[in-house]
Symmetry: C2
Amino acid sequence: MVVPRLIERKRDGGTLTGDEWRELITRFTAGQVPDYQMAALAMAVFYRGLAPDELSALTDAMLGSGDRLHFKGEARPRVDKHSTGGVGDKTSLLLAPMLAACGVVVPMMSGRGLGHTGGTLDKLEAIPGFRTGLSLAQTEQQAREIGLAMIGQTAEIAPADGKLYALRDVTATVESIPLISASIMSKKLAEGLTGLVLDVKIGSGAFLPEPERALDLARTMIALGTARGCPTVALITAMDRPLGVACGNALEVVESIAGLRGEGPADLMAVTFALGVEMLLLAGLDSDAAAARRRLEGVIASGAALDRFRQMVAAQGGDDAVVDHPDRLPTAPVRVDVLAERAGVVAQVEPRALGRAIIELGGGRREVTDAVLPDVGLEVQAKPGHTVQRGDRLAVIHARSRDAADAVVATVRAAIRIGDTLPDILPLVAWRVTSAGASRYGDS
Amino acid sequence: MVVPRLIERKRDGGTLTGDEWRELITRFTAGQVPDYQMAALAMAVFYRGLAPDELSALTDAMLGSGDRLHFKGEARPRVDKHSTGGVGDKTSLLLAPMLAACGVVVPMMSGRGLGHTGGTLDKLEAIPGFRTGLSLAQTEQQAREIGLAMIGQTAEIAPADGKLYALRDVTATVESIPLISASIMSKKLAEGLTGLVLDVKIGSGAFLPEPERALDLARTMIALGTARGCPTVALITAMDRPLGVACGNALEVVESIAGLRGEGPADLMAVTFALGVEMLLLAGLDSDAAAARRRLEGVIASGAALDRFRQMVAAQGGDDAVVDHPDRLPTAPVRVDVLAERAGVVAQVEPRALGRAIIELGGGRREVTDAVLPDVGLEVQAKPGHTVQRGDRLAVIHARSRDAADAVVATVRAAIRIGDTLPDILPLVAWRVTSAGASRYGDS
């Protein structure tokens, strides 16, 4: 195998064979193909894409580079959810316990925040004592016992993806639909799932803002999952504004607990239920959306979902008293209100800018190696379409100091634009995508 | 400077500032920008190209990374020639002494063969004792004294280019017109020239077979040279068949010496004179092509050009007796004729396949680290358009053993295709390109 010839072929629009991808990934993982060759190849893939067979081979090679969950003899369905990331999106914290309470096993592997988007692991770690670094064996055991485990990517799973992703991150080759798909699916397929629901965000705060590209990513991942015995469905959801009110690690845990009590913001609950319905349908526990929805409402009303959350926190070393006393979570010492400077209609609440403000406050990461503060963040009460009077509260900044809060006031204010007419906003759930095709959400 | 952001900008079709290119090259040369980032950037440049200001900054940064020839107080014109490479192209071996004999200083820096194309350094080193590894100080002194020096790229000249080229070579990012242009011109501009002639090949055996791309490369390099006080002119010449008869290191030296005696093959001499005329015009020694041509014929007829060649061989440690006794050059022990299997018209003599046969015989390189044999190669008597009878000799294989010769007979035979009608071939010199534009050769 002469690597420059493989790069050249891809560069010029050709395809590599499955064997070539497999050998390439094996040798790359073993350190026998240098980073500079893989970086050049990744950039060529950025421009040229991957044929379906190439994508399959790459995904399987990365999956095969590591270990996986097996769930031998486990009869219950196992369903996970993956989101492409956003601001204020804490649906994972609600869905895992809700689905577990319904009898679905949820072995959920999540990531950390980077750039303007938050990460499930950072949120969970805002709970004192909570450990996300479980081994695969511990994860499987816990998921069998209490129906859910929420962990970070371990070195045991898809190490080839870990190495390739780190390289892509520093070579501007992240934003490639086939490479994103292979990266996500190689990890998700290692969870031993019977079904997977994807939440692909669109809008200004999304990784892929345009619906066409988001649909493309969804279709690509659905094809990969479905062909590998993991039926996969995607919802295309709105990230042109934050989801819910709380944005920031501990703040989002508080809002998640409220959601599990049936007291979450309407938009957060709507997306959570929509995703949860798809998870239940994939699990085969319900055959129609209305029944699935009722089941989800039931586990919230009964407190069963909140109980599962409490059990998980305890099982993973966290202080489970936070569930009944969210004030035990870290709290920022300074709160500063951001008030409307004029009357009008909220025209835009720009998630990317708000995400930058959270980074500025210390609650997010510029670089993967940055530490994050659990307590800081924003509560963003303003939603596009709200009518506001001068002096109304739009958001609350939670900061470590008055200076830190003052430093982001202008950013937060600029992110919440007040106009005179009702804005165009994206439907909360825009599309539903299955292996059969895409349809407007609610049409099918 | 955040390198991934620079890569991303180029990837998405934007431009880097001159300062960004300068800092990038400085830091890359110092080992502070890792190869994998430069490889990804080079691939992005492959697809996106470089704006004129970017190309200038990159070229200047690579030029400025090393030392250069100065020729302080040297009043004579200094002109070099650069070819994009081909099979049987030994014009450098003729032109350097011819121009020196005319009173032009030729400080010629050349490369080694790679792939199907031969390299001037390998040919010269077929002369016993010949050294191409002169320092810049030695080169300048010799060029002042005898009017010419023929050397390899030293570590003193454009080390940034050396490092970047090595990386491009293993990441399939060589074939980028702006990167090729910056690479060539950063080295040529270090020679302290007053003029430069480019021989840009087209046709199946050329690095860039299509005339449009060759013209683009020529225009790009001409703009770079001209803007930097080095007037540059290009001829676009044919590499759809080998140039001359001899293909292989020592064989080409023999043919070059014959050419310097006025006994070279017609096609070789035509291209040599065409290039030499441009060199003399740039040097300002003649003001029209006819006068320049007569001057070149004069230095061959008088033996002055051959004398310069002899002086250079001696000055660079070579056995100058080869000039009068070419049989002192290394000779392969086995010669095998390739005969026509049918009567007809030679329809094609494919240089790429012949170049591969030479590599097979040991006379060329697959990898830069390969050693080459001086004595092996091909004499290709067949030219497109020749009428041949069955049994006529098409070529002679010069090999180390009968087995080695037999192993390439089929390749050589397949490369020399015999048909029934006169083939379309490229004009030996197709275009002349100056900073004023391109015109069909002979039209201006």
